[in-house]
Every structure is written in structure tokens, then in C-alpha cells.
Amino acid sequence: MIAAGLLAEGRHRLVLPVRPHHNPESVLARLAKELTALGAHLPDLTERVTILPLPPIDEIPALTSTFRRLGVEEIVHAAGCVDYFHSANLLKGNVELTRAFVNLGQELHTRRFTFISTAFSSGFHTGPIPERLHDEADEDPTEYTKSKRRAEGLVADGGLPYLIVRPSVVIGDSRDGRYGGKRYGIYQLWYAADRLMCTEYMPVIYAIAPRLSMPLLHQDAFQTGFLAAFRSLPANSVFHLVSRDDSMPTVRDLWDLWLHHVARPRQLYYFQRLADVPLEKLCRNQQIWVEMTGVNLDISSRSWRFESGHLDWLRRHGLPFTDVTIDSIQTCQERFISDSPRVRTFIEKYRAERAVHPRVIECDTADAVA
């Protein structure tokens, strides 16, 4: 998304070090696809893009001469590890890799170092989360957020002018639902429903669906927001790239959308917390579904209020930015369904069973389940 956006602007030449499981052809094909989807003029990508294998972290200093020869002027560091708790991978993928690229930037005297962090790098926080570097947190939702906070510190201490971009959870394009990212956030929830809940019709479904907002961000808003910040924000900015709170759907809205449109059980038990669900009463695949979606929604168990001074300023100065709404999530969900043979088969096969209006049972505790 970032590379395609920069290419679409027409001014930049890119050097892309990519991990070994990618090859130049696949990277160029993805870029071309994204540029076409953006309706952008398709440049001669071989002229504008140089693709290199990303070496192991300890060999990254050896990129210095190549980058110098290629005239690298600034670094946008968007690689990382999104494993929530795998400490070793997080240390390597978020902390050590960032350190290596910051060092590379120092060697090259780049004019700026841009780092893609996360909106949740504050850890759990009371009150509005500021657009500045965070102190250590008392509690983090995951080790991932902690590792990103550490990486931000390395960037800020690196002595180069920096831009730290903190997006919330990225979902598909607001216009057509297409999604080019890895399967996490609500895509993991939908995929779990695809794999575990769409083999047979389930007349009774249990779900954790608190009325707390999910901090989501459309990928087109991510792209336009990133590009605007990249062009306009002063050195040493920290930028919250997030949708407006007031339009943001809740976890409950999200499950309503899936369970009323796709699964359509006869009875739907809604819980506030994983701890309230009587797991022992559920069949095993539903147990696992509830537990896996529950931990995934942990991040929405607290309120996240992000200061958005930079984004507000950019919007006032003409940035087109689409906030997430329940309708725009429906667009993404419909795209997911149309791309999933399993869900489409489920919908068709169980048309008769699904011709019900689910009866919703609100459960505050496990005792509420008969």
C-alpha cells in the first residue's frame, strides 16, 4: 500500500529490500495490481523500483554501499512482526530490525526516517493517547505493542529527523472492500468463522460482543493519510492514523453483521467477556472459535481514545479521508464472502435453515444460559 501510494504520486524511485519468500516478479505484480486498482497511471516499474533481497539483520550494514550507490535519501521502515506474543520473533522483527535500519539511516545520513508503528504502542492507557513518544506502560494488551513502543524509542533516539506513523487496525478498502494486508484483526475473526463455523449450520451460537468500539481503519484511508503525513508533517512528528470515534462500529455491530447476515442461528447468546461464556456447554469447534475470537478481541476490552491533532489538521486542509462505519465494514464483509467459496457454499446449502430471524439472548454471566 505504501509503496504503491508513493509510486502513484509519481515523484519517487523506490528501493525495496524484501524477505526471501518474495521474489521481484511477485512484488512487481502486486505493485502493478495495486496501482491499477487505484486507477493510477502504471509507470514502468522496472525503471522506478529496485528490488533487493532483505539480508539477515546482522548483514544489513552491508546494504550501505548499495543504498548509497542507488541514491537512497530517506527510509520508510514498514517491515515488522505482528505475532502478538512470540517474544523472540518480536525482538528480532520489530526491535532488532528497526535498530539495524536506523543505523543504516545514520550511515547514509538520510534526511528522514519514517517508521510504521501501531496506534496501540501506548499499551493500555487512561484518557486520550497523545501524539508523542510514550513512557513505559503499566500494562500492554500484547507483547507486540510493547515491542513497537521500544522500536519507536530507537527511531526517536537515532538522531535522524523522523516521522512515526501509528495506524489502528487496517481493514479493506472502503469503496470495494478489497484487502491487500495480512490476515489479522477482523479478517482473522471472519476467517475463523469461515473455517470453524461454516461447515454445518449451527442453530445456537455464542459470541463475545461487547458494545465497545473497535479501532479500525480502511486501507485507502491508511494510504491517503500516510501520503499526506509523509508530504506535510514537520520533522519529528508522531501521527495517529485512526478513524473518528463517533462513527466507529462496536464489536457488537461487527458480530451482528456477520451473525445476522451469514450464520443466522436460531438463538444467539451475546456475552460481554470470555470469562462469562460457559465453554463447557459448547461443542469443541465452537469452544475454540469463541476462545480464539475472544483473545483477538481483547484489545477492544478497553476504551482507546487517540488524539488526532495532525489528522484533523490534514483533513481541514483537504485530505480526503473515509472513516470506518458499519456500512463500510459491510462492504468489506461482502467482499470477504464473495472471495470465500466455503462461506458462499454454506449460505447456499443452508438457505432453508438460515431463513430465521435469530433470537438474541443477552448474557452478562454464564448463569444466564439455560
Binding site: 482473522q188 461447515t199 465452537q286 475454540i288 480464539m292 483473545v295 483477538n296 466455503r342
Partner: protein, 210 residues
């Protein structure tokens, strides 16, 4: 029904390939897990379903091949975790489902019973060995992620093939296998000191995500 039919033989072949790899790994790096019962099950599977033709022509040919490659780690810790902790449990789930099926042959039900017993014995031995060799809690969690992710990610590739080939015939759907498997694996890992929340979160990412 006394003899396995074509569908059953396909299942025997899949189990045979997985079990034979496990046995080979045990014999090379963890001989105490290469139990006589496991050897007997492998012999029976390979004698009854000796060739790959039907498997290779099925939707499971490629995903099983990828799973076997991912499970072919070299060292004893990887073998302990991938085979002794993960794939033995997956085997148990399949054997359990087969042994409860009234529509399969006596031979398959008998194999399933002995296969389940052999898996149970190896799991017990592997668990003791994991405690001694790898440790518990965070250390084990890190080792588990390191060793098992490649295999767990490949399981997703079996989904459509399992449903289309075995869903109707054996009442064995991928969602049920995954549910049963995870439900067995979680408490076993928690008993070894791994945080349930961390593990569930990690498994969600591995099975459903990245």
C-alpha cells in the same frame, strides 16, 4: 464390513505417511519414543496401503506433502514438539473419530484402536521428555512457536480436502478436527506451564492468520 474400502485405504495411506515420518524421526533422534506399538501400527499401515497413487491424485496429495516437509525438522527438540506434542495429538483425534465410525470396516476400527493407544503412549513419554529437555512455561512457549508454527500453518491447507473426501464418509470435518485437536492441545500445554491466553492468541494467528 471386514476390509477397508477405497476411502479407508486413502486414510490409511495418509496416516501411514505421517506415522512413518514420526517413527523415522524418533528412531534417529529420540529412540525412546520409537515404541514397539508405534512400529507395529506403522508396519500395518504401510503393508495395507503401500502406494501413493490414490493420495497423489486426491485434493490432499499436495497439502499432505507440504505438511510432511514442514514436519521433517532435524533436531530432537523440533521432533519432540512437532511429532510428540502436536502431530501425535492430531493422529489421536483421527483415530478416535475412525474408531467411533460404524460405517468403516472392522480392520479400520481395530487399527484406529491400536493407533490411538500407540499415540497415547508416545504422548506420555514425549511430555516427560519435554519437561526434561526443553523446560516449561515461557521457555517451552518460545520453543513451541519456533518448532511448530510451520506445521500448524500447513494444517489449514488440509481443510477443503478433508471436508470433501472425509466429511460425508467418516463424519470427519476439518472444523471438528481442528476443534478437537486444539481442545486437546491447549490443556496439555497449560499443564506444562504455557499461558493459555498467549497460546490461544498464538494459535489463532497461526491457524487463522498470517
Amino acid at each position: 464390513m471386514d476390509l477397508p474400502d477405497r476411502d479407508e485405504l486413502l486414510m490409511w495411506r495418509i496416516l501411514g505417511k505421517l506415522e512413518a515420518l514420526a517413527l523415522r524421526k524418533y528412531e534417529s533422534v529420540l529412540p525412546l519414543l520409537a515404541t514397539p506399538a508405534k512400529k507395529a501400527v506403522v508396519d500395518q499401515l504401510l503393508e495395507t496401503a503401500p502406494d501413493d497413487a490414490a493420495l497423489a491424485a486426491s485434493p490432499l496429495g499436495q497439502p499432505i506433502q507440504e505438511l510432511l516437509q514442514a514436519a521433517d525438522g532435524a533436531d530432537s527438540t523440533a521432533t519432540l514438539i512437532v511429532q510428540g506434542m502436536v502431530l501425535e495429538r492430531l493422529g489421536q483425534i483421527i483415530y478416535k473419530a475412525l474408531s467411533a465410525q460404524q460405517t468403516v470396516s472392522d480392520a479400520t476400527r481395530a487399527l484406529a484402536a491400536s493407533g490411538w493407544d500407540a499415540c497415547a503412549a508416545v504422548i506420555e513419554l514425549a511430555t516427560q521428555q519435554i519437561k526434561q529437555q526443553v523446560g516449561e512455561g515461557e521457555r517451552l512457549f518460545d520453543a513451541f512457536c519456533q518448532a511448530a508454527d510451520g506445521v500448524l500453518k500447513r494444517l489449514d491447507g488440509l481443510g477443503d480436502g478433508v471436508d470433501s473426501l472425509f466429511g460425508q464418509r467418516f463424519g470427519l470435518t476439518f472444523s471438528e478436527v481442528l476443534g478437537e485437536f486444539t481442545a486437546e492441545l491447549l490443556p496439555a500445554c497449560v499443564a506444562l506451564g504455557i499461558s493459555r491466553r498467549k497460546l490461544v492468541c498464538h494459535l489463532a494467528g497461526v491457524f487463522m492468520g498470517l
